[in-house]
Amino acid sequence: MPAPSIRASRLTSNHIGIALLLGVAYGIVPFTGSEYLLDAILTPFLALALAAVGLNVLTGYAGQVSLGSAAFLAVGAYAAYNFNLRIPELPFLVSLLLAGLVAALVGLVFGLPSLRLRGFYLAVSTLAAQFFVQWALTKFGWFSNDNPSGVIDAPTLNIAGIPVSGAERRYVFSLTIVLIATFLTVRLLASQSGRNFIAVRDHEIAAKVIGVPLLRTKLLAFGISSFLIGIAGVLWAFAYLRTVEPAGFNLDRSFQILFIIIIGGLASIRGSFLGAAFIVVFPLLLSRVGAALLGNVFDSGVLEMSQRIVIGGLIIGLLIAEPRGLIALLDRFSIRVFRKPRHANQQPN
């Protein structure tokens, strides 16, 4: 699902493609899609895609590795729950925005070490966010309204008096939020701030000499990234699962989001969506294919193992053969098929 390209000034085939996809996503899918498709595939796909966009801002564009994405999902989810619960007068969209801001604040705090640490060491320090948030949400009952295991049940949402209930409405709500957030992110990345991210990633010393404010740029990347992941967390908790516990936001989830951007394509918004689609659809395909080929031998244990093996193998293969991910493969393929007169060296975003 392509997002607008960074250089979005002319009307191109890209724009027509996006318009078509939007038409299908709003005009056809909600009316014809089964509840299973909407609830179990598309809604989690949208939430994960937004989280991947968020992580891609930080890791793909600004070059700061993070293993704490699930923590920011959790912060967003629990913050929205508490704003909704404790200040019921707040419209839900305001709670959503505030939840993103809380996640951004937490992200800023855990982004501070990036001034001194880079690469592997920074990744390890972001693990602190991962473990701290999960621990805090379980330890302090206030966050979950004193539920003994930290579980929260998301209430049915009301947007301007319309209850967001039923698979279709939850899907349309998620789609809208994800599109707006992605659109604003694309605008940011195309601006000077986005160029600063890439400058810091590609050559930090040159960036400093040239006058890029390193502290502000890195913290902005952490803030924006955590904001987006926080919003994704709200969608995850309120539109997709509707009952979440801290254990659901564990390190596995952080890795899942990291894998999405590695598989889909680093520093690519479209890659984030492609990667999320892959991660959501792939296990379903694998279980269908596995069951058809092997019958009863292919139980859930085997499924999970084979899933990990294939994804692991895919990541290794991609890192060696095409570090820019599936989206680069797809672009090359589409150039060959459609023979678009496009600059071979132009890097799509």
Partner: protein
Amino acid sequence: MSAVATANAKTLPLTGEGVEEARVVPAVAGWRPASAALRAAVPVLALEDISVSFGGVVALRDVDLRVAEGEIRAVIGPNGAGKSSLLNVVSGLYRPDRGRVQLGDRHFSHVPTSRLAGFGVARTFQNLALFKGLSVLDNVMMGLVHRRRAGFLQQIAGTPWARREEAANRAAAEEIVGFLHLTEASERIAGTLPYGLQKRVELARALVARPKLLLLDEPLAGMTLTEKQELSRHIRNARDSYGTTIVLIEHDIGVVMDLSDSITVLDHGCKIADGTPDQVRANQAVIDAYLGVAHGDETELAS
């Protein structure tokens, strides 16, 4: 003005009306000694007794340097002579053990790198330091980043102020890209360009802010002779068109002799010579440093 007057007083037999006279002097065309002294009065860059060492290894020892406005100054010397260390001290990447750096009328014991661009100083690096994932034009626009004031929310929203800033920077970048004949490559991703072009993009990025002082660390390294001649022309053009003062490190003696107004020679961290190309070419210490012992082998250096 008084500094100007005293500088003049050394070369002109002036008396009481020194100040009045000084105003006229710059207008006198071709009167080189006075205008040279005038410019030397406020050097764009001056180093005083700079010493740098890493552990026990001395990179620079008591180096003095004065670069006048509009000058092209080459810094040469054998490998490990401390040339890059010198530029790193000026750009604040190294903190000298002793000594002071003067940029215009500011003095520093350690130049604050993050404010360098604001002081009107730009530099290139020995190994390419382009932002490989950005297009050529975006790389060049990065050279103006220190002038940006609009915050990120304004950039997202595209407020008139942010848009004006963006448009002004884009126009400035396009101009310099044209100046260095890079227009055809301006939408290409910098990392995909051939080496010679990347070097030129780096020069464009350094020049776009019209710096007062430009530091070039081996701008011609690894180029073919034709590319070297072309880029030398661009460097000279930059000085002539924008009045940029240039300090450059270069190994190719032939190019250096043609390009620069004056040359500083470093060897083992010490300054061993300073002067016009002709003076340096005839300097025995320089010949020794480059050729080891051989006396009378000047032809090779002079060629």
